[in-house]
Symmetry: C3
Subunit: 174 residues, 3 copies
Amino acid sequence: MATPLNPTSNFFFFIFTVTLLYVAYTIPRHQPRETNLVFYVHDYLTGHDASAVAVAGRAGPESSILHFGTVLVVDDPVTEGPTIESREIGRAQGMYVNSQLDGKGLHLVFSVIFTDGEHEGSTLEIQGADLFSMAEREFGVVSGTGKFRFVKGYGVMVTEFMDIANLRAVLKLN
Amino acid sequence: MATPLNPTSNFFFFIFTVTLLYVAYTIPRHQPRETNLVFYVHDYLTGHDASAVAVAGRAGPESSILHFGTVLVVDDPVTEGPTIESREIGRAQGMYVNSQLDGKGLHLVFSVIFTDGEHEGSTLEIQGADLFSMAEREFGVVSGTGKFRFVKGYGVMVTEFMDIANLRAVLKLN
Amino acid sequence: MATPLNPTSNFFFFIFTVTLLYVAYTIPRHQPRETNLVFYVHDYLTGHDASAVAVAGRAGPESSILHFGTVLVVDDPVTEGPTIESREIGRAQGMYVNSQLDGKGLHLVFSVIFTDGEHEGSTLEIQGADLFSMAEREFGVVSGTGKFRFVKGYGVMVTEFMDIANLRAVLKLN
């Protein structure tokens, strides 16, 4: 997985923090509930535990995620705390696409699949823009399953940690 | 379209069953309605009537859908009954991405476009995780058009039929 | 960016018109609001200001967007008026996939990111089918951020202008 690194980039978007707010409906009463979730996503493009891989782009699978057009497939660990050693409660599976001509924005489409903890067996479906040079980025929660059926909501993503030299990152979902 | 087959896989995820439940809103009253839909999707990666094709992955367009990172584009027939000979009521058009490191999970983003029958002219927009080694998988209905405007909901997908040797399948949406 | 042009195609889908209707919710009252937005998206596959690029397909990054399986990444200007000279109020960033076997339909997943004007700082998340040989195509608004948090809705897309020889287009969102 030769993902070229742009050494001139002075930001690193693979580690981020997200604040999640949602409204759930019950049938037939449709009573809204509002909840805040906090969790962390670890996005590693390099290393023996790499969880993201470029598969298409203007230069094919060798394209850099820092360039417009590159498509990345991810299966990122989701943890309760900011360190990879903290309890894994799920996976973030789907796609990131570099969708900004200057290379500084991603379009995200993925599922957060909870495999342990309070929300085990449920999922959240995410779609949104990640202009990663901004401190905070909001994204949409478009759907969910299990206890999150009929969910609507949004999240806020904040870069938590970056390791430019190795393209590794941690994501906090709040 | 040379889609390599992994002969060691003992499951086949291209045939599945889905139970669909949704809530529709009317403007300005926003009265929810709940409905169950049942339909079948036929997902054939091989044969003269192939309706799914790998277009990207770690090995480029020749990547196997059974491997992490592979992107598949689909235009699958949707029928009223479980056999391909039953009445075609629509098409399932969009993308499947293999988004699990061990190759056993897909991320789905597609439209169900109804072209005949009761829902002709309407669509459902789907996003979800398909961990196809599980008997039942839930996914999100994120939006819709026509009679399904303002829809919210979820679906349940069950593997109905598999033909590993030929990578052909039938999907039931209930 | 060598995007092959199919000279036999007698339509051009990269210019379209969209009517957008949405319902926003406020917490805790969840009062629906209904609004119509009109805006234009300029989709240029050629020229020095090209804003869309093919990155995958049956023939790799050289695949034509007019053929089944091709994946396009876009960062299209969004303007108030139909001409590119009118005020730019945002960008449409995401993916188009040719998802119809005969090449005449796309599956769209993208964000409309408002960067100026009344909706500056907000986004709309879009998913839908674009059968571009039809005069009008409806699509889903699956989520939003900023003032469009908890949004639901749909849009109508109409081809506004086409320049087949150069694969350039203008999109009106109404």
